[in-house]
């Protein structure tokens, strides 16, 4: 029997019970739509979070004082931990393949200009911020490459601080007061938006040693290193570890490469996507039961037809595949409808609620459709097997 005839005959019987077939396919359609929609949202969130985390560049390594296994700024500094100094940062910059280093100290302080005062984040950084964090000044320039211990009192404003303090006025060359010291504005950063609730534009950047003095810190909170693309980050972090251990006497610092961070984050997000996908899978399972039910009914109704087919020379195998083909076609039709609904829904959702990112990966679409066909196959096997095993004489007697 030709494959095209199998398909034609199966489609014929599916099309004959139009209403019934549509309702059965609907079960699968809802399941597939749920899977596609939920995984689209999951993937969208996944992509969104990863892009948020990579907007400051990708080839980064962060070193923070204190030995901690989790990432983040280690607040509690244990007794025998030596501070991470500007000298350490300078030494690290000499390691081959390190392109730039940003020593970071962070705190909050009041900023005054004229009669306006604003409490905001102060970042003590070096001159390499535009290169390492991939953020450019929109106006003027970033902090100059001064000797880190004697850097001049310049400040670069975040776009929001500029708006709040200066409005439409040109802030370049003005002096503002941060804490007790006076700084000259030499630049304004372009707007970066928010990262996990932090308003990155509501911040100012001053030289590191000024910030250390302002917040009375003897240690840097973090040193960010930018390495040349194509470098093995693990190998490099080994070198950094060796160099710093030599300087400090023991390993009293934590190195986190962004590769590691993204890997961890990625695996968490993938599990999230998988979990929501599995939720949709439950409705898919229900759709599969629907197909099983309708195929069982179909075999019962068509017992006499099975007998006839056997009498005119159909082999058991042919009857088996005819019914399985029907189930697979039902499921695939439902799957296609579900894909359209799911992908369309995801797109609509993305358009209607821009804050909720959605992304429908094609691999998921193909996977969902194959799963639908597979469910049809699985649901069709048992009824089809029953049909194929019918006794032709008894089957012919059924009417």
């Amino acid at each position: 029997m030709l494959v095209s005839d199998f398909i034609r005959l199966s489609i014929n019987s599916v099309a004959f019970h139009r209403m019934r077939s549509m309702l059965t396919a609907l079960g699968i359609a809802v399941g597939i739509a749920a899977v596609v929609l939920l995984t689209s949202i999951g993937e969208g969130i996944n992509k969104y979070v990863l892009s948020e985390f990579t907007q400051f560049g990708t080839n980064l390594i962060a070193i923070s004082p204190g030995k901690a296994s989790t990432f983040g700024i280690s607040g509690a500094i244990v007794n025998n931990v030596r501070p991470l100094s500007l000298d350490d940062a300078e030494a690290l910059s000499k390691i081959p393949r390190i392109q730039a280093v940003v020593p970071v100290v962070q705190g909050t302080a009041a900023i005054e200009y004229g009669k306006r005062t604003r409490h905001t984040f102060i970042y003590g950084t070096g001159s390499a911020v535009p290169k390492v964090w991939q953020m450019k000044p929109a106006l003027g320039q970033f902090l100059p490459d001064d000797d880190p211990r004697f850097a001049r009192p310049f400040v670069v404003l975040g776009s929001k601080v500029r708006d709040e303090l200066f409005g439409d006025k040109n802030p370049l060359g003005r002096r503002i007061r941060i804490g007790t010291e006076s700084f000259r504005v030499i630049g304004v950063m372009e707007s970066k938006g928010q990262l996990l609730g932090f308003d990155l534009d509501d911040a100012v950047y001053i030289p590191t040693h000024k910030a250390m003095a302002m917040f009375d810190q003897e240690s840097l909170m973090e040193v960010d290193l930018l390495y040349a693309p194509g470098t093995d980050s693990e190998e490099l972090s080994e070198k950094i570890k060796k160099s710093l251990t030599q300087r400090h006497g023991n390993e009293d610092f934590t190195i986190i490469t962004q590769d590691q961070m993204l890997e961890t984050l990625g695996s968490v997000l993938n599990i999230l996507t998988l979990a929501v996908g599995a939720l949709g899978g439950i409705s898919l399972l229900v759709g599969g039961v629907g197909i099983l039910t309708i195929m069982t009914i179909a075999v019962n109704e068509r017992t006499a037809e099975v007998g006839l087919l056997m009498a005119i020379g159909a082999r058991k195998q042919q009857i088996l595949w005819l019914f399985i083909g029907e189930a697979v076609i039902l499921a695939s039709l439902g799957g296609l409808a579900g894909l359209t609904i799911g992908a369309g829904g995801a797109w609509l959702l993305g358009a209607a609620v821009p804050a909720l990112p959605t992304h429908t990966p094609w691999s998921y679409v193909l996977l969902a459709e194959s799963i639908a066909a597979l469910i049809g196959l699985a649901a069709g096997v048992v009824p089809a097997w029953r049909a194929a095993r019918l006794n032709p004489i008894e089957a012919l007697r059924a009417e």
């Binding site: 019987s13 004959f16 056997m310 020379g313 082999r315 032709p392």
Partner: protein, 233 residues
């Protein structure tokens, strides 16, 4: 062509065992015209199913065209049914979803014959039975006689050697029944071996050889001298 030797068949019915066939010995030559008659439950349908390889004997042997059919596996039996045997049933057994042409085409489809070839053969067969302008009708748009003729077209499209008809006129009025019998007899004259199971003595009496069955045994097997050649008149 057909040789049955000592064929027995039993069915369990409730607690009892029914002997549907008891020691059947039967020789049938190619091109014969047989009727099998007898009261209901006498085993005539069982014998017909046996001849059509829908059933297997519990004991005894059945040689069809020299081949011992009891030694064939399921797949080969299906192939013999498809290629050598045609069935006509009392209740037509047309697939309601398919047009007359598609119903007639089914055995060709099962045999995996190319669509272009199928179309020509279906047309030819329907034409021979005077159904060419009914080919696109569904069974529910056809009269009983037309339905049975479509079924006969389906049974003969593979050009089988044997045509088995189980009460072919049972669901038809007299006139349609007469037409159907004439159609079957025409096919017999063209060389096909025709076996009709019936309880209607008028139809059974038209055959050239008449078998009578009672309680699973053939009690009478004789040539129909008076009716021999009746179809020519």
């Amino acid at each position: 062509m057909i040789q049955l030797q000592g064929v027995n068949r039993e069915f369990p019915v409730g607690d009892e065992t029914v002997h549907a066939l008891r020691g059947i010995d039967l020789d049938i030559e190619a091109g014969e015209y047989l009727s099998i008659m007898g009261p209901s439950g006498s085993g005539k349908s069982t014998l017909l199913n046996m001849l059509g390889l829908l059933d297997r004997p519990d004991s005894g042997s059945y040689h069809l065209e020299g081949v011992d059919t009891t030694s064939l596996n399921e797949e080969n039996q299906a192939r013999v049914r498809r290629d050598r045997v045609g069935f006509v049933f009392q209740s037509f057994h047309l697939v309601p979803r398919l047009t007359a042409a598609a119903n007639v085409e089914l055995p060709l489809v099962l045999a995996g014959i190319e669509p272009a070839q199928r179309k020509a053969r279906v047309h030819e067969t329907l034409e021979a039975l005077g159904l060419e302008n009914r080919s696109d009708h569904r069974p529910d748009q056809l009269s009983g006689g037309q339905r049975q003729r479509v079924a006969i077209a389906r049974a003969t499209i593979m050009r089988p050697a044997i045509l088995l008809a189980d009460e072919p006129t049972g669901n038809l009025d007299k006139r349609s029944g007469e037409e159907v019998i004439q159609t079957l007899e025409t096919l017999n004259r063209q060389g096909i071996l025709l076996i009709i199971v019936t309880h209607d003595p008028e139809i059974g009496g038209r055959a050239k050889r008449m078998l009578h069955m009672v309680d699973g045994a053939i009690v009478d097997d004789r040539a129909n001298t008076e009716k021999a050649g009746a179809d020519e008149t």
